[in-house]
């Protein structure tokens, strides 16, 4: 277990040292600033714009970070030949993968934490105070982190057998498909025969990001059901574990010579 923690810590450090990460955080803060500006030139929807734009920025920048760092987690190590050094020590391949996943997830949690501060500061600026319904924004942020969990695992899966470019394409494609997962299940429900089965299988296999998106709801101060929080948490964990298990299966058999 300590080996996994060591790899995770190193992954986190490496990501923090990465200048791209800092640039993205700075850009997210700038975007929150832009939200304030837009809020000032619009009528009666300043708070709405800050929440919508702020949370969307948190989500989008996190997605970009998850994809672009996630896809290089394994391939970069192979390219730099550092993977051989790591695996020549008493470190199992699955430990390496799980450590990488936890490291990237940790990076994103920290990243989201700072972005969230930006969102709340912007909100404080335009509303001159907080409302009790603003607490739901934390739930939306939590769901965004769950979204990152799934994305990191997917990026890691593709990184374990594919090139960085293809991994980025695959992960981004799954992110887009997953965002329309409910439509996909809607189509599956209306199909008939074999196509219904195939569409249903595909709909359940792709990640479901739509249930994790409650930005619009919290922007209007609407509460989030406790059941939804519980099921989303369990779903994101189950899906990530499934994908990482798939990555482990592939990576265990991969010829690294």
């Amino acid at each position: 277990m300590s080996r996994v923690v060591h790899i995770a810590t190193n992954t986190f450090r490496e990501a923090v040292r990465d200048r791209v990460l800092y640039n993205l955080i700075a850009y997210a803060v700038l975007l929150s600033g832009a939200a304030i500006l837009v809020g000032q030139i619009s009528i009666e929807i300043e708070r709405l714009i800050v929440v919508n734009l702020g949370l969307t920025a948190v989500s989008l920048f996190g997605v970009v970070i998850a994809i672009f760092i996630g896809i290089g987690l394994v391939s970069k190590e192979i390219e730099k030949r550092t993977l051989y050094t790591v695996l020549s020590r008493p470190v199992r391949r699955w430990e390496f993968l799980v450590g990488k996943f936890l490291g990237l997830t940790g990076t994103l949690v920290v990243n989201t934490f700072f972005m969230a501060i930006g969102v709340f500061l912007a909100l404080l600026y335009v509303s001159h105070g907080f409302q009790s319904s603003d607490g739901w924004i934390l739930v939306a942020l939590y769901f965004i982190v769950l979204q990152f969990l799934i994305l990191c695992s997917l990026a890691l899966l593709f990184s374990s057998f594919s090139s960085p470019l293809l991994s980025a394409v695959f992960t981004f494609a799954l992110f887009v498909i997953g965002s329309f997962a409910e439509d996909l299940r809607g189509f599956a429900g209306m199909s008939r025969g074999l196509s219904r089965w195939l569409a249903t299988a595909a709909a359940y296999l792709v990640p479901n990001f739509s249930a994790l998106n409650v930005i619009g709801q919290v922007a209007h101060g609407q509460p989030i059901a406790g059941q939804l929080i519980a099921y989303n948490t369990a779903y994101a964990l189950a899906y990530s574990v499934m994908v990482i298990a798939g990555a482990v299966l592939i990576f265990e058999r991969r010829n690294l010579k």
């Binding site: 199992r92 391949r93 699955w94 409910e182 439509d183 299940r185 809607g186 189509f187 209306m190 359940y204 479901n208 739509s210 249930a211 059901a225 059941q227 939804l228 099921y231 989303n232 369990a234 779903y235 189950a238 899906y239 574990v241 499934m242 298990a245 798939g246 482990v248 299966l249 265990e252 058999r253």
Partner: protein, 305 residues
Amino acid sequence: MSGSRKVTAVASVVLLTSLAASVFLLRRLDQVHPSATLEEVLYFNSPKWVKRLSLGYDGLLADIYWTRAVQYFGGKHRAGATDYKLLYPLLEITTALDPKLIVAYQFGANFLAPKAPEGAGMPDKAITLVNYGIQNNPNEWKLYYELGFIYYMDLKDYRKAADAFDRGTKAPNAHPFLRLLAAQMAEHAGEIQTARMLWQATYVSSQDKHIRANATTHLAALQVDEDITELEKIVAAYRERTGKPPSSYTQLIATGMLRGVPVDPDGNPYRLMGDGRIELRNPENFPFVAKGLPPGYKPGPPKFR
């Protein structure tokens, strides 16, 4: 068991277990999440914006939007809905993305024009859609036919219907029946015979099984309406002669007013009610009839033949 095999076995078990768990949780999520389902969401409602955002891939996007329109209408129709608020915007976007998609005008107009539950009950929107189609495809005779059809069937504007059919005759490769329809419309608008001719024209001009089923169902309904109108006349004549309505068809047959027990297009005898009314035995099989329905009968979603 070697270390690698052990890891493989454990990872396989974990993968399958978590897959099952994620499917189960997704099903539960569907129940608790106030989902933005296909029926409720139109991500962009401006055709111009959708066209700009398509980045030149407007053909493919039109196909996707057309599929959404079909699924939206089909899903709502099956559920017996009366509100189709997204139907016209979906069709508008589809045809803005691909103005040459004739099928979207044809089917779209058929979805929009008829009254609920058969359709969306928006004949004006249907006419706007078809006129947009004609504007972009002036040589497509089928669109003039659709336009005339809506004017005739849904708006009962026989003059405009005749005009649309007449305009259609001038399109290249126009089907010969358009000329017949234009003439029939001018002379016998509003008659069952004319409506029958229109549905027969619909049947022969399309290869699509749904359109044909719809036409067949309407033709059966027209037959029922015609039969019952005739039977009502016979019952009225009997009542005039005897001073009371017939209690059975036997009395009508005995007086020579009927040759046998009259049957509907499915072969089931029409019911002769105590007060002399004629009713269908299975009204649910004839969703478009105007006559023969029991008092207070509420039709369900149409069943096509």
